[in-house]
Symmetry: none
Subunit: 403 residues, 2 copies
């Protein structure tokens, strides 16, 4: 169970304490008491992980080997059946004027009708042998997947990053023919998307309502879908992924887990924690050997730099821990994927606290769940890449290396 | 700030304490109190580091990749502008009799006149296309650099290690033509050096004074100058190196740092610590992002096995810590490059204590700076290769790996 971005740094306004040290978390503290504690570097000490690279590392996949960018995970997370070799992109629905100037990168933060718009792009034929897969995500976000021979993820972005500019021409980032070809197709797609979408009924309706139309597609963040050994093959564990965001659901999808979305889960601090708790307890009764759980709200409040929200959310998430503590005969691991300090408003490379609860563990004398208390625990300091090996050992699934 | 060889093992004569535990170091203890502590394996647990390999590792260079021998660093440290591919050697000025027997490996521990002698060797022409660069270091020490095509560092030493023997013939250590050629040039150099130096005015004067003449050059410790990415390129940090010994100055030089030598710095226990302190405080006011500091005396007393000297030196070096603690808005790291236990009189693979002091750190409850107190700190146990990643993270210069 990964509480996204939970860990933090001491804050003056908390008298030198961290949000987790201040939050009222009796269940987490109880778990620290009956478990074994330590700190973990999700990737390596000092390395600032993304949520994606951290989850990969914790699941035993080396992000330096398999991570090519967020595109493939975002695409998988919204339900595109990506395959190794596909080139995936994060896209924005944007607004172009008649002269080709981007006047709104987020198309008036469009919420409705993107599915209908996406259908006009999905399956578009730009080049023989290259399939265009396009799907809306939440709001103004979408994903694009190019599938076919001779493609490359070594291409630049179309998104000009600022309004008032034309889309950037996408260029090849290396000398390969594959990159040239991919760039050509993408430029064609950006141009074509405007032709196809400018008079789309959803957009005509938006313009009537004085809303910016979603009349152009701007791809960025190219990544080749990596060849990843499925989790159940790697470990022999039938696994489910309970997560709130497309990125983490995409990690679950690409590693071959069953995806489970709790009703009312928003990925924000307004998420329905009761529903997530019930979803976990329900999934635990089903036939899974392993459940990856990600709850995202603490990361959001960290990125926003809103201290009170983070402390409140940690206090509220504690109730979910109270529920899962009732599960018996499981190895339960509570940790974070990275620190998202209020003072930094982004991920940092500080280690995160970690508890393992289960039978026959070398329980230590840590009595509180926090960044500093955990550092005195019996696990000392481990890495994300150690976690699955420890799980396999503690569940007696590991085989002996040697005689 | 690296106190060379500071760490040690418990000693019976100290009632089972280490020199650092016994030394009166109120400033280091204060730093431990307000910082975060841990132990560090400069290379890996149990590996006995040299000062050079340890410094490389702490600076984020893998010594297994870039270290070929001390020669290149010694040469760079005395001001030779070495280039990648150069073959560098440590040399002794020695004394040969007329029959070619080495009667004094250190030429009467010559102190004066070596610069004049070196000028006769520097630039000597032994082989077309191979440049001979030769420069005196301190005392009987000198460095030799061969520059040109088709050279190799796979050659043996000329130094016979004991008086009363002729210089060893230098031989190729592999089958390459490059090693054969390099060995031939070196043997020629040893022979020629005697011809050129035996009647040198400095030597005639020495013989008149019944001092052994510096009439032959004995090279050893061949190493090819490695291709090293400059520190400022690797990290974007403008860096200075304040050090006392040629070896560490050479590390600074080869990694592209500005070299700063404090007046009165000797590299021994007699060094002028006040001057070093002033030099640090002065350098800190200049336009640097990073300063590497090495103070060498504790290592010397460790190698000599003189307990009282080591305890005294650590007590005195504490005043420098008192000065640097006044620096604000810096991340300050205090550590050692290795242990040089009094009982072993050489480097060992024991981990070294380390403090990080700076804003917004997860300060722990360690209240003393020592090998054992540090092991209870919030950093637990890290490696030398983690240090720069942690520095980049804590100074918000790190970029996120992933999304």
């Amino acid at each position: 169970m990964i509480i996204d971005g939970m860990a933090d740094r001491p804050l003056e306004e908390l008298g030198g304490k961290t949000p987790l040290e201040v939050a009222n978390t009796p269940n987490m503290d109880q778990m620290a008491k009956i478990g074994i504690n330590g700190i973990m570097d999700p990737i390596k000490p000092g390395i600032r992980p993304g949520s994606d690279t951290s989850h990969l590392s914790i699941l035993g996949y080396d992000p330096y080997q398999v991570y090519t960018g967020r595109g493939p995970f975002e695409a998988a997370g919204v339900g595109v059946e990506v395959r190794p070799g596909d080139i995936a992109f994060r896209c924005n629905f944007s607004t172009s004027d008649e002269d080709g100037i981007i006047i709104d990168r987020r198309a008036g933060r469009i919420r409705e009708g993107t599915s209908l718009i996406a259908q006009k792009i999905n399956g578009i034929n730009l080049e023989p042998g290259v399939e265009v897969i396009f799907k809306e995500s939440t709001g103004h976000r979408a994903v694009l997947v190019l599938r076919g021979e001779g493609l490359s993820d070594q291409v630049s972005d179309a998104d000009p990053k600022h309004e008032g500019k034309v889309p950037k021409e996408i260029v090849a980032l290396d000398d390969s023919e594959e990159a040239q070809k991919t760039a050509r197709i993408l430029n064609e797609l950006v141009k074509t998307s405007y032709e196809v979408l400018k008079d789309h009924p959803v957009n005509l309706e938006r313009m009537k309502n004085k809303e910016n139309p979603a009349n152009i597609i701007l791809p960025r963040g190219a990544g080749a879908v990596p060849e990843v050994q499925p989790f159940h093959e790697k470990y022999g564990l039938k696994a489910a992924c309970i997560a709130e965001t497309g990125l983490i659901l995409g990690i679950g999808k690409i590693t071959g887990m069953d995806l489970i979305e709790a009703e009312g889960a928003t990925g924000g601090i307004d998420t329905d924690l009761n529903s997530i708790g019930r979803c976990i307890m329900d999934t635990a009764t089903r036939n899974y050997d392993f459940i990856l759980i990600n709850i995202d709200g603490a990361d959001e409040s960290g990125h926003d730099g809103i201290l009170k929200e983070k402390v409140d959310f940690l206090t509220r998430v504690d109730s979910v821990i109270g529920q899962v503590m009732q599960l018996e005969d499981v190895i339960f691991i509570l940790t974070a994927d990275h620190s998202t300090p209020i003072s930094i408003m982004d991920h940092t490379g500080d280690p995160v606290p970690l508890i393992i609860k289960g039978p026959a563990l070398r329980v230590d004398d840590v009595e509180q769940f926090s960044e500093r208390a955990a550092a005195k625990g019996g696990l000392c300091r481990i890495r994300g890449s150690d976690v699955m090996n420890i799980v396999m050992d503690l569940t007696n699934r590991a085989t002996k290396f040697g005689a």
